[in-house]
């Protein structure tokens, strides 16, 4: 009796397993979860360099009108890792030529962002990062929303979904207006 029951359910179990496998692969393709694997990037080793010195804005900078540039292009990488540079060096502060950039153009962005705001959120990195307390400390740092990205050694997601409550918590604590129109349009 027990054996026949198992035989009866086997096709369903198999079907479910295959379906889940296909859908998770599809989700990963859709989210471009493996995009980080195309070009490995180590935040931690870059942050210790003399040229960067813990300043995120060297790569993740702003445009002139205050728009956040987001993920850098390969052109920004090759401005240090020159395409005709040295391949090996003992000094860690000398950028080496990376052969993996040869297959990319300067305008390519081979990484995918984990942090994406919905379309109806008007969020300005420049405004949030400029805000200061009266004694000159910054009200927000990169890590307060993005997690400890500076110590990550690969492109994995280190902080989950960011909901509106997290924005509102900071706004309430820092006595900033919490009206809808401050961020939404």
């Amino acid at each position: 009796m027990r054996r026949s029951l198992l035989l009866f359910f086997t096709p369903f179990i198999l079907f479910t397993w295959i379906f889940l496998g296909i859908s998770s692969k599809g989700c990963a393709d859709f989210m471009q979860a493996d995009a980080a694997k195309k070009l490995p990037f180590n935040h931690k080793s870059h942050m210790q360099l003399a040229a960067i010195n813990g300043n995120c804005e060297v790569c993740h900078g702003y445009e002139e009108n205050g728009r956040f540039l987001g993920i850098p292009t390969v052109g920004q990488c090759t401005s240090c890792h020159a395409r005709d540079g040295v391949l090996n060096s003992n000094d860690p502060n000398v950028p080496r030529r990376k052969p993996m950039f040869d297959s990319y153009k300067d305008t390519d962005k081979p990484w995918t962002s984990w942090a994406k705001q919905p379309d109806l959120v008007y969020f300005s990195h420049k405004v949030v990062m400029t805000a200061q307390f009266e004694d000159g400390r910054k009200k927000a740092r990169c890590g307060s929303c993005h997690g400890d990205k500076a110590n990550s050694i690969n492109g994995d997601m280190i902080k989950g979904k960011m909901l509106m409550g997290q924005c509102m918590d900071c706004h309430t604590a820092l006595h900033i207006s919490n009206k809808c129109a401050v961020c939404h349009d």
Partner: protein, 275 residues
């Protein structure tokens, strides 16, 4: 540079000079373009059409013969009401007090915001609005061909089944705020902007500015004799009667002023002052 007092002191308002308005409809066109209005097969289908700013045609008499025919066009958008605080409640516009999902709210600058993702589509606010300024997305917004690539990236396209409305182009204010911060100006009250309709008006009939600033052009126009608001003659009653009417009725107290010196238009719209 640190700004201690970052409270918003501005109160945006608009004045539309109907004596200057030619009814060309450039404001409506600019508004549609700025706010990613969808294209429908038949734009004369009023319940289906979605537009923030509409030109309301007003004529003196439907049966009038040639020399007596008079026509005016009222650019009619959300009037950004303030409401009045009857019975000690908080002053709310008619639409805000009925919203069950806090999807609409009055901002610090007095602009009534509408967040479509929070809207549940009950259309109470559309019913409560005295100006029919709110529109409901009955259908999914559709754009022909490559039109979608030319949409304004700062305005999100609302989904089907939500209310949308004019917000005085508050995304332009946010853009100007970002530009000011990038330049190092951290005072939020230093940021000024012009909505798309006011920028597009060829005769300069639409004036936009700060009502709290007594020296601005808008507050001078709002105090002039020609100024009227679409509040159905409550504004022009004597003070005691006005107060009684305001207590009794839901007084919207809008921030959009219409300027007209034409007697027939005042009669038609029941603005009795100066007539």
């Amino acid at each position: 540079m640190i700004v201690k007092d970052s409270k918003m002191k501005r109160k945006w308002g608009m004045a539309i000079d109907l004596d200057k308005c030619t009814g060309c409809g450039a404001c409506s066109l600019a508004c549609n373009q700025e706010n990613n209005m969808p294209i429908f097969e038949d734009d004369s289908d009023v319940p289906k059409r979605v537009a923030f700013l509409e030109l309301m045609k007003v004529t003196n008499d439907r049966d009038a013969k040639f020399p007596d025919v008079k026509t005016a066009y009222l650019p009619k958008m959300c009037q950004q009401c303030e409401g009045n605080d009857t019975h000690g409640h908080k002053a709310d516009p008619p639409c805000v007090s009925v919203c069950p999902a806090v999807a609409t709210d009055v901002g610090d600058d007095g602009v009534v915001s509408q967040i479509w993702s929070r809207c549940i589509g009950c259309r109470y606010c559309q019913t409560a609005c005295p100006y029919e300024a709110r529109v409901f997305n009955w259908w999914k917004p559709e754009y022909e061909g490559t039109f979608k690539e030319g949409l304004n990236p700062e305005v999100s396209v609302a989904s089907r089944g939500t209310i949308v409305k004019c917000t005085f182009c508050s995304h332009i204010w946010k853009r100007e705020r970002d530009k000011a911060v990038a330049k190092g100006i951290l005072d939020i009250n230093a940021v000024t902007y012009t909505p798309a309709c006011a920028a597009a008006c060829p005769t300069g009939a639409i004036v936009f500015g700060d009502l709290n600033d007594p020296n601005s052009e808008i507050s001078k126009l709002a105090k002039s004799d020609r100024a009227v608001r679409l509040v159905n003659a409550i504004d022009d009653q004597p003070e005691d009667k006005k107060k009684a009417l305001m207590e009794k009725k839901q007084y919207p107290n809008p921030k959009v002023y219409y300027l007209t010196s034409q007697k027939w238009l005042r009669d038609m719209m029941r603005f009795k002052k100066n007539s």
